[in-house]
Symmetry: C2
Subunit: 219 residues, 2 copies
């Protein structure tokens, strides 16, 4: 036939243009496959998720899985990394926006609840919390990621409170770091309880009560 395959024109700068790989094309999209793997790990945890489950969920077979992401542990770590990126994106705007502190925190907890309660076969909870509970003790690399996750959240909250304090929304005596730890604690308790299928209403009530104390006590 005519040679001249559909050569991608040089149109866009950073378009996801296929870079003309050399061999047999992949039958999967790494991104979506990783997403499916993440879903599974969130549902069942590391140990209870088998490579066969993962292969079935991603539509890949095990050798392909292996070739693409490494062994089970590596896949888990990559899934966790992906989860964190997703969470950062979901939270990013809110942490950036300069809203009144109360509104801001309300929105953060709302997004968190969306993340924790989603899932077809039950609330998926928070990967960081789940991973901390099980894998972080024994695996130094995973532990480092989990700890980083904690401090990242603490710092984001602390920045919020610090800003609010500068704007006069909090009393002079309020300690942003301490309040941030309480805000994180509230995130954690909500994540855990969500996983035990506590209804959203009750979780929202917990968040609101916590807000009352955190924002009111410093009045």
């Amino acid at each position: 036939m005519v040679q001249k395959s559909k050569r991608p024109p040089v149109t866009k700068i950073d378009a996801p243009v296929p870079p003309k790989r050399r061999g047999r094309p992949r039958a999967y999209q790494p991104d979506v496959a990783l997403g499916k793997a993440l879903d599974l790990f969130r549902k069942d945890g590391f140990a209870a998720t088998s490579l066969d489950d993962l292969a079935a969920a991603t539509g890949m077979n095990r050798p392909s899985l292996y070739g693409a992401f490494g062994d089970k542990r590596e896949l888990f770590i990559k899934s966790y990394r992906r989860y964190r990126e997703d969470a950062r994106v979901a939270m990013g705007d809110i942490f950036r926006d300069e809203l009144p502190i109360r509104r801001r925190l309300e929105r953060i907890y709302a997004v968190a609840l969306d993340i924790y309660l989603s899932g077809e076969s039950g609330p998926r909870g928070c990967f960081t919390v789940m991973t901390a509970a099980s894998e972080a003790v024994h695996d130094p690399d995973i532990r480092a990621m989990v700890l980083e996750g904690f401090t990242e959240l603490d710092k984001a909250f602390a920045a919020c409170f610090r800003q609010a304090k500068e704007k006069g929304e909090l009393s002079e005596s309020a300690d942003p770091v301490v309040l941030a730890q309480l805000a994180s604690a509230t995130i954690h308790t909500i994540a855990i309880r969500a996983r035990a299928r506590m209804p959203r209403k009750e979780l929202e009530a917990i968040a609101n009560g916590a807000l009352d104390v955190m924002l009111g006590a410093a009045k």
Copy 2:
């Protein structure tokens, strides 16, 4: 027919008197065996703990394990029940004692930290939190126990705050239920972070900061 026909209503009263059982005597003490099983489950979680591991740890062989405690899930549930009993005992006095609220809470957090940080091969964390993260979503019976654990803790804390309020240790506007949820949240965040090997000092600082805010002692 798997049911055990034994159990004349004694055996639990503190009578170290061997009741002259009929067949071959047990080579293990059910209590200590269950304790070993609990240790293992706390260390690795449900899925990652094999029956072989449990048999090795208890010194029993698998058929004996099975005969004594049922299958893996039953053993897990019994271990969890045992954990809760132990925790209740450890906390009981403190929740009962009529100390100044701050002292009381300090002691509670100290005991909690002892429980969460103990363990030869790493901090064992809180069984309720770990179980919530993994098993509670899929298993209704376990979920019920976990939820009960949460409300039990919430209620105990609420009672503390209510009492403190009556004694005038808290402002009239303080809401014992909300404060209790914050106190629980602090327990949870500590349990999770402990599991990620956060040092005791930092965990204590988190507890103390939370106390400052909850008791309005932030100055």
